[in-house]
Symmetry: C2
Subunit: 149 residues, 2 copies
């Protein structure tokens, strides 16, 4: 029986997390395991501060959380969004559960849905009772000239 960090309960869970990290070429460290385990277990999106508060006390430094999240973004283990002004939110990037969010402009409650066609989504949201709906959609990719260099 190997030693596991408190918040990772089973060997399978541990194996999954270690597998994901290694797959992406990241070394297996305790902070990385804890953060990834948290994001897999609890569905976000979470701010860096949310994550810090949810981790066991003194589990790791805030700077480490930011460093890990940036590595997870680069390796596409997590996705980020700017749902509120000036603060990024993160969640585990489960390719089988691609979805999007709607945040209330007033109370900031975050809801999610799995549709991915704009018209369909907007009518889904109207049915859910939302008013004054706007969306923000951005694409990111590598352009032709950057692929050459």
């Amino acid at each position: 029986m190997s030693t596991l960090p408190t918040s990772i309960k089973t060997e399978e869970e541990n194996a999954k997390i270690v597998g994901l990290l290694k797959e992406k070429g990241l070394s297996v460290t305790l902070p990385r395991k804890l953060i990834l385990a948290l994001l897999i277990k609890e569905h976000g999106p979470f701010s860096a501060e949310d994550i810090f508060k949810k981790l066991p006390k003194n589990a790791c430094d805030q700077a480490t959380i930011y460093r890990c999240l940036n590595q997870f973004i680069e390796t596409q283990l997590v996705t980020s969004a700017y749902l509120e002004k000036d603060m990024a939110h993160f969640e585990f990037n489960d390719p089988h559960h691609h979805h999007h969010h709607i945040i209330c402009k007033i109370c900031k409650k975050i809801d999610s849905f799995h549709d991915c066609i704009l018209d369909k989504i907007e009518s889904t949201l109207v049915k859910k009772g939302y008013k004054d709906i706007q969306h923000r959609l951005e694409f990111f990719g590598v352009c032709g000239s950057c692929q050459k260099s």
Copy 2:
């Protein structure tokens, strides 16, 4: 012949800008006119710093630019997006030219297109030569319970 700020060239342009501000219940001040005129003339998206640099020297303070942009967002005269990490970008919200952006992950060049269906957009982008495409889509609205209060 009334006095116009240097960067607003014609009476029509001036009238349009004044009209837009009044329509939204905003008083007509020089900084607001200059910023809005710039965003209408040059197609963004621009960061607050971009705007500051593009305005005539000492035209207005950075704080004023942020204040104006926030008012323009609230009144939906402009839209904002987080195309790069930690920095908002703004552009004039022309309802007849609704469009979205793609930014190269490497060189940060921003391209735009007018399609608004995800599958169609992605294939348009592939034809344009982009690789490794991701998107980020968020909706914002007022939820049912907030409409009551």
